[in-house]
Subunit: 206 residues, 8 copies
């Protein structure tokens, strides 16, 4: 009857990066371009840091949607990668779903462009199949805030949890002592305001 807090667990989770493509990114206007780029790459760094199985997919990458963003691809050179021939919901692509299942994970982190389609559709599909879904809201973008609000509502209603990359990283890390240097390095790179704290601290300790 009560609530159960199923935390993100680095051994139970996979990451789906959906349609972060050079063309589609021009549609994202609920974040500044600098913020969004930083958020996406921070999520990628977190996945790599925790060795989270990651699956990449793109939609029509030979057309106007454009190729997967170079820096995303470079983060995951060996990840399963599915250039979908036409399915809008990546969960409609059998190879993609098989790859997700092959990870054997119960928890899914999903981020993508645009939130209301490329994130919401597989989120609802995965929830239906019993996965716990954690939408990484700030690595997912769309046309404007009104569209985002509606998309978030639909996913919440179905049971998805909304998180940001920073809380994903912290929930996975559990304890700074697991690797202070490593985790701190990610924050230094992707949270300029935290990097400033670190620099001031170091200078003053010196």
């Amino acid at each position: 009857m009560g609530y159960t807090y199923n935390r993100l667990n680095k051994d139970d989770v996979a990451l789906l990066m959906v349609d972060h493509q050079a063309g589609l990114l021009s549609l994202v206007r609920d974040f500044s371009p600098d913020d969004f780029k930083n958020n996406v790459l921070a999520l990628a760094d977190i996945a790599r840091f925790f060795n989270i199985p990651t699956i990449l997919t793109t939609s029509f990458e030979d057309g106007p949607n454009g190729p997967i963003v170079l820096e995303v691809k470079e983060c995951f050179p060996d990840a399963p990668y599915f250039a979908r021939p036409g399915q809008i919901n990546c969960w409609d692509n059998e190879d993609f779903v098989n790859a997700v299942k092959a990870t054997g994970k119960k928890q899914l982190l999903i981020a993508g462009v645009v939130t209301d389609v490329c994130v919401a559709f597989p989120t609802l599909s995965a929830l239906e199949e019993g996965y716990e879904v954690f939408v990484v809201t700030d690595a997912s973008g769309t046309f404007n805030q009104t569209t985002r609000d509606a998309a978030w509502s639909r996913m919440e209603q179905a049971g998805a949890q909304l998180m940001n990359w920073f809380s994903v990283g912290c929930e996975l890390h559990r304890d700074w002592r697991n690797d202070i240097e490593g985790f701190g390095g990610i924050l230094a790179k992707h949270l300029p305001q935290y990097a400033n704290l670190m620099q001031s601290f170091s200078a003053q300790k010196a």
Copy 2:
């Protein structure tokens, strides 16, 4: 017990366009006039593209509320059209409800002006009768964002799903290969930023 993802299905869905009238539109201030016009006509084009049965209705069109917006009427010259003599909730109009039932569809897309009345009331009525209701949020407008937030809350609470015209189109289309040209044409017409991607792509391929 689990969540079931009942996708919008082009064979199971009807569209209700409620009170998009020339006078009432002057009340809509949660979207810019250009954005709102585009959103409404994009939804109309989607309905036509998928041959979705569409029902039009107006409230007191011979008074200050004004006639149905010309371009909306022109999109659906043969659609059932109900100029309600006074009922505020179009679901209180027996002819309208009969027309909805006559479509034989289980899923309803509803858009209208103003969101908190002309959309929310039939949404709640239809939910009570067991329909799945998908509110097209960006083709529905009202006085200001505070009013919209409350109206969205009431409809969510009752079980309605909030979508935008773009995600409606994508969820119906399922796969680009079903008709690349046709669906792309709608996006080119109603998403200027996507049209730009298409033009750049074509130019560079040329």
Copy 3:
């Protein structure tokens, strides 16, 4: 199992106006003063138009909170009026609750200042006692939008429905033909943008 749409019904509803006092109003900053004044008086006019039993209450009106706003009092010269000696939640005032019960209504419209206290507390109390509660969001104000968002969340979670004065009026009225002149008069007075439509219409018909 399904959802039931219990509409606001003019025969089943009472209105509670909580702490609209001259001093407390200076705390309201989630609406412009003109908008808020108009919203409160519009709600009052609606209650009078439908002869809805209305109960007024104030908190410490002899202190800094100040007297009930003159125009609100004038709208309901004969309404039960409870100047609470100290209870913050008006539902803790036995006389007030007795007056509510004496109306014999199942549905309650609640508006007040400030939303997070004077509205939220009696809303939660009334829900606990089995009333259907409809918060009139735009006739209720508080310190800022962040505070409002949290207060709305708490009330929604408990089952309250969020409405605005215009949708309350429309849901009660049901059909313009019940009294076109009367209802139109309220809109003309409290929706300047609708008054303009009416004036243009009249001029053109003349």
Copy 4:
């Protein structure tokens, strides 16, 4: 060489109310409808209180622009009134300009709809003819804030001063002792937050 502060002087000033028409008001979206209505009527009350010669004009009032707003007309039943047959800049209407000149005033208060056209054009024309022009910014409205910002810039650049109705009233009144009751009455009517102060004060003094 130095700056000279030519204050608004009730004996030196005329008010031009330009195109506050029922249709055109639906274009105003840089103010909420309640705020804008209040601002326009507050300016009208100030003009009447100080017996400032006022000239009304409309553009194409028999067409979609609609009739002059009823309440504005009622404030100035005997004012010169020019329904322009087509001139967009009211200063291009000879009768209007003659009426302005006939007032013999050097200072002009100008308010109208829309700011970038119906206010800006006569403002620039009047400045060219040597008038001191004070634009009443909050009784003048237009499409959105971006448009307003540009229009304000153009008028400032030409030498117009930007004021709001409250500062106009205060600069004209000079000293509360000239008529405490009268001036206070205008504030009580048009500044709800000030009315609350007055009511609290009265209650506490009682």
Copy 5:
């Protein structure tokens, strides 16, 4: 000594459309895509309506900046068109400047993407050469509002006037009677809220 109001005069003015290219438009985020598309095309329609000599130019159109937006090109099939080989400020392109001079006009309307570069630079260059420059602010876009504010400041400081397409059209038209149908048609097409007024008016007159 006094201010002179040099109005836009359809016989004295040329329009420069600078770098409205499919790629560059993805940088514009101080307007919604729908609004910006409408604004640019409205300005184009105004130029055509008044037969204003128009000059098109692009920057590196064979690279990432992309081709000139199709609809802009189609509006001016016979206009002088300069695909600049590298100059960022179009005024550094001799052919372009010669074309401007060949128009023999003293007044220049300038619009482009992005405001702080493609508009600001030729604006400052043209001012230096003694032209009167009118920046069409809402047909010019850039990265965000902060950037726009700084760019506007720099151009104002140099003497440019900031206008929007609607005020440009009205200042050129002078009097509705010059062509009611024609000018009304532009407004009907590009101001949906005005189109609604027109439709209501027509319906009621019918």
Copy 6:
């Protein structure tokens, strides 16, 4: 079946102040620094006024996160205080949880920095263990409003209630007569706009 309103009860509640540290506060950008400082100290004053057991904790306070904010520490000189050696979720610190349990309270007020981690994680943990959790939203801060919205959603979904310090104080106080001077003193100190009402009232009564 029905809703039960479990009010905050001063005898049933403990307060957890999580990671209000000098360094971490520089990350908070969903409130102005003045507002946030005031909110945190207001919550502290409320806890002291009602003698609510309070537990303090910090994360890595010898590193860049910095020491606990001086004024927070000074408010609770004798409170249990846990400088966590590395656990990100304070509920993972056994000593901390033991201290919470030792209070014997069922209701927990939680505030902290940042909302999506230091507040959300222990909130979810405490809900899982059957506590009623009331998040003090305006004494909890994070990177920006988008992050806050997602964090609020996740906590609501799990059953937490969102409140602000003012409503916490009012729900605990129940009745002004319990201590008019004391409670009024807190408002005078932390609600400048209420202090003004009190000063005006006193002056007028004098």
Copy 7:
């Protein structure tokens, strides 16, 4: 011909605090109450720190405008204080102007409520008499941002300089070495984000 930078000089400047009264403050809505209180008291602390002659004045303090804010009065117990009997522009009060002149200063810092009247009017009057006027914008408040923008424009146009309390303090202080402790103390008290830096620094140096 060139620009001369007449810096604020602690020996040349006087401060005018105009109408910071308990009632009038309820009109200020272009700052949060916490921010505004902090800004006003920070300015007061700066004036005291530099021994700047300060003159206080109020308008109708025995009426609804209310008494001078207690904390402002307490900052300047011995300052000349003029309770104006009716003049809206404090520069119309002969005693006030004489007190200003008696300071023998050429530079005036002016702050007050509301910006468009109580600040703008004496600013323009003082500029006319040849004073250099520095408006302390964040210790001056008014109805909303639109009103503020117009008031700032009018004062800029006349030659006033717009500053904030922090830049006033820094321009007066010139060099930290003049009194590190003293000036740092003001920042610690009124810039919570700077106080945090100081606390972290001290902790780390300890």
Copy 8:
């Protein structure tokens, strides 16, 4: 009499980077941290690309203000660097001014933290000495937008020009052909939305 457009000229300009320190950056809240970091580093890259003499300075870097941001220092390892012992206005530091003069440049680009002090003061000082000053607005930050608006106003009034890093780069570059690869590389690194255009272009050409 006319306006002269003195363009930024790479041979005539020096860059002053003022007080971009790890502690002070926590005060900057008119940009997101990601945006601001990107803007500052973009400006640094532009200076290096054009070999613009750059001078660095810090204020009290051994105290709470913290050390110069590491990445800024690394960009200019050999630049003159002045750690000011106390002067708030860096122009009051003789060594700094001598270094500026030693560059022999007439044009100064100034960026710093905070805008209203560390940028505004040397801007006004340099204008007084006859330099042309171009403030790089988006590489300069301060407490909030209200403070920024006032600081911009003061600098504009004195004759400074407001630019952003992108327009600075473009005005210096003049013509893409001067170095397509080099300039494009800066844009690719600091304008993610432009990098996307470049990647799509390359992919399609491949």
